[in-house]
Amino acid sequence: MQAKLLRAVGLAAVLGLVMLATPARAMEDKLVVVTSFPKDLTNVFKEAFEKKYPGVKVEMLKKKTTAGVKYIQETASNNTSDIFWASAPDAFEVLKGDGLLAKYDVKQQGIPAKIGAFPLNDPDGYYKGFAASGYGIMWNTRYLKAKKLPVPQEWEELARPVYFGHVGMSAPSRSGTTHLTVETVLQGLGWEKGWALWKAIGGNLKTVTERSFGVPSGVNSGDFGIGIVIDFFGFSSKATGYPVDFRYPSTTALVPANIAIVKNAPHPKNAAAFIEFLLSPEGQELLLDPKIQRLPVRPELYESKAKHLPNPFKGEIAAKVAFDVKKSKARYNVVNSLFDVMITYRLNDLKAATKAIHDAAAALKAKPNAEGEKLLAEARALVAAVPIDEARSLDPAFAGVFKKKRKKATDKITGRQAEIEQQWDEMVRANYAKAKELAEKAAAMAR
């Protein structure tokens, strides 16, 4: 009995030693990539890379961008990931800020430093842009035909009364790329005018989707007819066969999609090889796969294989706005919070006010009335009003309310995010209610 027990313990001990002794990192035969990209993209690169480097097994761990960031943060003490590969530059900024990325110098030559007005790579050398994408308008052709709607060309048109209840978009706090679009318009038109436009479009929204893929998905289904989406969603939906189309408005944001090596990566050599491969002419061509459709960052490709795509380096996608990265970073969370308070969470109130304004405008057009016009203008101004001005949005002390920690002990911050959002919410709701009332009054005058 005892001998049996002893034998069992001995066996367990030996087994344990064998397991422990197995060298986990002796050879680099693996590469672990944490990515938010869809299978259609990752599979193409996985297969090509494994073919080029036989013996290396690529493991693609697919996680939503936010889940990926959390995963790398929480596993940092015992890191098992080599590469973080995702679209939103802000996700990389968060990881960089936490000191979880490794610097890397790319050996590949011939990649410009800027795409449009946006710097392609992290100026500090932590993450690299490997593809560009532009924001634009996607629409369902069957939907527009059935509802007899014209095809929208520019952002401003989305605020027209005909599109009431037909537009979908995501929120900047949910989707880093949506954030860039919102910020680009704010910088292009100015703080007040920019927000006025977003709220006018917001009033026409059918819905604010919870994730960025919700927008192309809704347009594909025909749940709403028009969506504000990133280009590859439009191109790939069309390539799949959905009755949809896509165009860039004349003001658009060009956004690089990025890649970085995680600090203390278990397979640093493979990680470096993967980045080099991704940026090589060979790797860049893979981006033109019909299911991927992202804009390569090698300008020479637009002369040959990528002729059908708009060339972002030649101004074919007019990124008119000189994008100010510092400004964007300074008020990143403020813009997210403002958008949610004014549009996402009060969408029903905003829609009610917008509907009343559209109705009043139509009534006044049929039967002009100066006093009514005045009331309508007031209503519009109330809807457009923003709780804070641009200077305040850029004030570091104010923006600090929305951040985790004080940078320095001397930074004085008063107020909490919840407190401020409650004040904004009160103002916004009162404004929408008042605007609705005024617009209804204006409409009554035209009757």
């Binding site: 422990l20 299978k39 900024e93 809704g218 066969g241 709701r429």
Partner: protein, 573 residues
């Protein structure tokens, strides 16, 4: 002698209670507390404070969200009851061919695969879904099924009514036939019999189901997000926790409030059923008398059942269309049909399916073991503080999967499992543990209801005949609870098979991923909708078959018991 036995029994129960408590502490309380403590910190100074909770009550958006959640949860219980009661009543009360089939189909709504289920519902009921397109063409109007709070109530009731159906059926078939006969002898018939005698006796099952629907809907995230309703508590918490970069403590504050309120409503429901006796002594009779229906009654009953099933299974009909359709966009039906999505999926799906069966099966098994232990300790012992187990086990329903996932990464990533030499947080077993904790409330309510219907007298009889406590539990209590345990297993298994939120955080290798993850991967691309739906259909079929088999198993054991009971009765005569 007697005293010694009593002491031993208490020790055994105490040891069981303590080990369950330990499991709950290590895998639930501590990991979640590690994430939730942010709710009690001042975001700027890092000091302990309650100011965030004050902010919650000061914020009108949150107050509004709270009342919306409450309203939706209560209304969903009402609508779910209307759907579930006829199904449960007809199938347990009458001799019905295909009762097992109806019960299986009745569980299917619980299996709503992530994302694809949402798309399927939009395609049918959305503003421009099939039904509204037809209505618009024929009559020139549309019905906003999927808009606002009423849309949430509709979808939630269709989705979660099986909780009531399963638990109520288990309860109904546990009722002592003698009670019914006594009532009939006293002149009660028909609806009066049902209202005054049958339904009150089945109350534990109904209460368990209704409590689950209430808690689940109150804490549910998926449906409001799918309908893009943001002004409810759970989505408010989720949207704040999952946005990048923002360090808003309010998301965690809301989560804490969800947990506290869920516990509060559990306590209220506990008060409501306390002090009543639902137990039946006689078990050999196998529940209610079943009678045959007359032809016209049969037709009527079938009509009601088919109508209900069509409504509650419509999302799955949509899913089936989606999986066989080519392109489906702004039209009543897909443009054409194809099997190529299944071909694509069949080559990749097997590991996903194997993992799903393994994880959900293990998790559900562990759940019913834990749940039986908790129910027994809470209702059959007088250990001090035993209620804590019940509350902890149920609180899991209010904790978002994301929070549990982050908590596990935080707590177990530095702990290497001996012999496997891998961090516990990235070992596949952690996914099973997460599913177990997430689904424990379902099993717990079912097992508690089942135990409430077992008379203590039977246990006392067994003990008087010399059986120890352990063998009493094993030979008497567990067999008598079998129906409820099976109900708990089925709900836990069916819902664990399609769980995504915690899984998405915890999966660390593609080879460890379950079906829900596979669906998620497909549903990120325009081209992946068909294959994603095909995987969803596979998930539904697998869980459906498993449910059917467990029904067959329960029915067979009951039949055997009945036969044995009859034999004993004739022997005695």
């Amino acid at each position: 002698m007697m005293l010694a036995a009593q002491g031993r029994m208490q020790w055994g129960a105490a040891a069981t209670g303590l080990s369950v408590l330990l499991v709950l502490l290590v895998f639930f309380v501590v990991p979640v507390a590690k994430v939730f403590y942010v709710a009690f910190l001042d975001a700027q100074t890092g000091e302990l404070t309650l100011v965030n909770f004050l902010d919650f009550f000061r914020t009108s958006l949150f107050r509004e969200s709270f009342f919306n959640s409450l309203y939706v949860a209560l209304m969903s219980v009402v609508v779910a009851t209307i759907i579930a009661v006829p199904l449960a009543y007809f199938t347990t009360r009458f001799n019905f061919t295909g009762a097992a089939l109806i019960h299986t189909l009745g569980v299917i709504p619980l299996i709503m695969p992530p994302f694809v289920g949402a798309v399927a519902m939009q395609m049918l009921f959305g503003a421009n879904g099939s039904i509204n397109l037809l209505l618009d063409e024929w009559f020139g109007f549309t019905i906003p099924f999927m808009e606002g709070l009423n849309g949430v109530i509709l979808v939630e009731s269709i989705h979660y009514f099986p909780f009531i159906l399963i638990n109520l059926s288990a309860s109904l078939s546990n009722i002592d036939r003698a009670m019914e006969e006594a009532a009939q002898n006293l002149g009660a018939h028909g609806f009066r019999l049902f209202r005054r005698v049958v339904f009150p006796l089945a109350m534990p099952g109904f209460a368990a189901g209704a409590a689950l629907v209430f808690l689940k809907v109150f804490d549910d995230l998926g449906t409001p997000l799918l309908l893009n309703v943001n002004n409810m508590l759970a989505p408010q918490a989720y949207l704040r926790i999952s946005s990048i970069g923002i360090a808003d403590p309010m998301g965690y504050v809301i989560s804490v409030i969800l947990v506290v309120f869920s516990l509060f409503s559990l306590w209220v429901s506990f008060l409501a059923t306390r002090g009543r006796d639902y137990a039946s002594v006689q078990k050999g009779g196998g529940g209610l008398m079943k009678r045959d229906l007359r032809t016209w009654e049969k037709v009527g009953a079938w009509a009601v059942i088919v109508l209900i099933l069509i409504v509650v299974l419509s999302p799955h009909i949509g899913l089936l269309l989606l999986s066989f359709g080519t392109i489906w966009s702004f039209s009543v039906l897909p443009d054409a049909f194809t099997v190529k999505h299944y071909q694509e999926v069949f080559t990749t799906a097997w590991p996903y399916i194997a993992n799903t069966l393994l994880y959900a099966g293990l998790a559900a098994l562990l759940d019913v073991i834990l749940a039986t232990a908790i129910a027994y300790v809470v209702w059959r012992t007088n250990l001090p503080g035993r209620q804590v187990l019940d509350y902890l086990g149920t609180a899991a329903v209010a904790v978002p999967g994301v929070v549990l996932g982050i908590g596990y990464l935080r707590m177990f990533h530095d702990f290497n499992v001996p012999l496997v030499n891998e961090p516990l947080a990235s070992w596949w077993v952690i996914i099973v543990v997460a599913l177990m904790i997430r689904r424990l409330p379902y099993a717990l309510r079912a097992c508690t209801a089942a135990l409430q219907q077992v008379s203590v007298a039977l246990e006392e009889a067994a003990q008087n005949l010399g059986a120890g406590r352990f063998s009493t539990v094993r030979r008497i209590v567990v067999p008598l609870m079998a129906g409820g345990i099976a109900a708990g297993f089925v709900t836990a298994f069916a819902t664990a098979a399609v769980e995504l939120s915690a899984v998405l955080i915890l999966v660390s290798k593609e080879s460890d991923a379950p079906l829900a993850y596979g669906i998620y991967v497909y549903m990120q691309t325009a081209a992946g909708r068909g294959p994603g739906a095909a995987l969803g259909v596979l998930a539904v079929i697998i869980v459906g078959v498993a449910t059917y088999l467990s029904h067959r198993f329960v029915e067979r054991t009951r039949a055997e018991r009945e036969a044995a009971g009859r034999q004993a009765a004739t022997g005695a005569a």
